[in-house]
Subunit: 283 residues, 2 copies
């Protein structure tokens, strides 16, 4: 199944049978004081730099989140989307829990963005899905609802099914929906990643949709987080994840490598091209 | 399914439902000039050091291969098994294409070793399987035969089936057989790893046996080999590999991490224990 995103000049296809699409996570002030200050102060050079660096590292899409307390998020989202669009050519992922900010960001895009995100809460579906429908965007559906994040894969599948059924009943095409099964840290619950992987298998088997991994939470609080994040991406790709909102600078080699290893990089062209551009860490 | 190995003092179970078993690959002179010289000269201190370092890094089992041209491999295998057995307590994997050397190595073990390996060639099955039967060892079956290594997963499955049927018809229990689907470098054929992963899925579905990964060939000739080896291990574990003959010093963090992420490390005890003993590469 193919989910098409675009900017004014580029088209990116998230494809269940294709190579992994890398969505750069860094334009998000959560836990990033320097960026939060830059957003507040309108220091857009700093944001442009983050955008350029991620695209140079191989990001196919950039996530844009401007959620800093005390700002006008609607106006800021509009401005930052404009600034990022001027700086790089990749499609964007408009990331906010505020549906007015999502609508403003989507309207400011010159192509077809990905909306991040809707979830299974009634209030979320009622606020976000009409925007997705009106602007014909793609959307990430998070497997949580009024009762929180289900503990079992079956529970998360049920939430994914609810979002998919609601969206398609409104006329949003199945191809526009990307499910994110969520992952909590294995440091708190050693079954946390297993549940996520099993959810991916259930959702792809039933609906065949694209799957997003948010890859960095899984390792929270544990030693050697990078190795855990790498292994999680490979395991997730093995069961059917087709895009990830992730640290592209750090994780592109693993993603390009896992694509090659799962037979999705003919003649290793993408892997080799990546290393022609970026010096390898070792030989 | 459980494949039990033992030394005089330790039992190690390779278990399709359990954590990954790490078999240290370093006592093998192929491509290691210093070790080849040590084996030739009877410099057993060097070998003891390799054994101790791998066990300290977390190796559950050690592979022992003494294949240096121009030596008496039978006598040397016997001696090296004795030396390694005196130095460390883990079970051994007796690695030789020479069935007389295999028999000598097995006879010198004080527990139940893994024999590495039999393959689907008539001459190999006739030479090795009687030793496996006589000493009641476990054995690795490589998916190649008189026609070489099949290019397709179905072809490799057929060879695995031939080895399994022959061994069990001789009274060797299914639990004693570990299939190694082989992997060639993705540098030469970008479908090489995909075929291996698909073979694992076919063999485990039909026979439910344990699966060994020989993890280092896959990245041959490519940049950033370590990242590829890491991703290959995670992908292989995701589809059912239960042991690997590998560079434990380098790859233990990935293997312990992937076990945690696939829900095979309750409370993360093995992962955390590993990092209590070994400093993390980063946080």
């Amino acid at each position: 199944m193919k989910t098409t995103l675009s900017s004014e000049t580029q088209t990116v296809t998230i494809d269940t049978e294709g190579p992994m699409i890398m969505i750069g996570e860094k334009i998000n002030p959560t836990g990033r004081k320097r960026l939060a200050a830059a957003i507040k102060d309108g220091d857009y050079d700093y944001i442009v730099n983050l955008a350029v660096r991620q695209v140079e590292a191989g990001a196919d899409v950039l996530d844009v989140n401007v959620g800093v307390p005390g700002i006008d998020e609607v106006k800021t989202m509009e401005e930052v989307v404009g600034v990022v669009t001027d700086a790089v050519e990749v499609p964007l992922c408009i990331d906010s829990p505020n549906h007015a900010a999502v609508a403003a960001g989507v309207a400011a895009c010159k192509g077809r963005p990905l909306v991040n995100s809707v979830n299974g809460e009634e209030v979320s579906m009622q606020a976000v899905l009409p925007v997705v429908k009106e602007y014909d965007t793609a959307v990430i559906g998070l497997t949580l609802d009024e009762d929180g994040i289900p503990e079992t894969a079956e529970g998360r599948f049920t939430v994914a099914a609810k979002i998919i059924e609601r969206a398609t009943s409104m006329g949003i095409p199945l191809e526009s929906i990307v499910i994110d099964p969520l992952v909590l840290t294995v440091g708190a619950d050693s079954n946390a990643s297993r549940v996520t992987l099993d959810t991916i298998a259930l959702v792809t088997k039933e609906y065949g949709v694209n799957i997003n991994l948010g890859a960095s939470n899984v390792s929270f609080g544990l030693p050697d987080r990078h190795t855990l994040n790498q292994a999680f991406l490979a395991l997730g790709m093995g069961v059917g994840a087709s895009c990830a909102i992730t640290d592209v600078v750090k994780l592109a080699p693993t993603i390009r490598g896992a694509d090659l290893l799962r037979g999705r990089d003919q003649h290793g062209m993408r892997y080799i091209k990546y290393f022609r551009k970026h010096a390898p860490k070792d030989d």
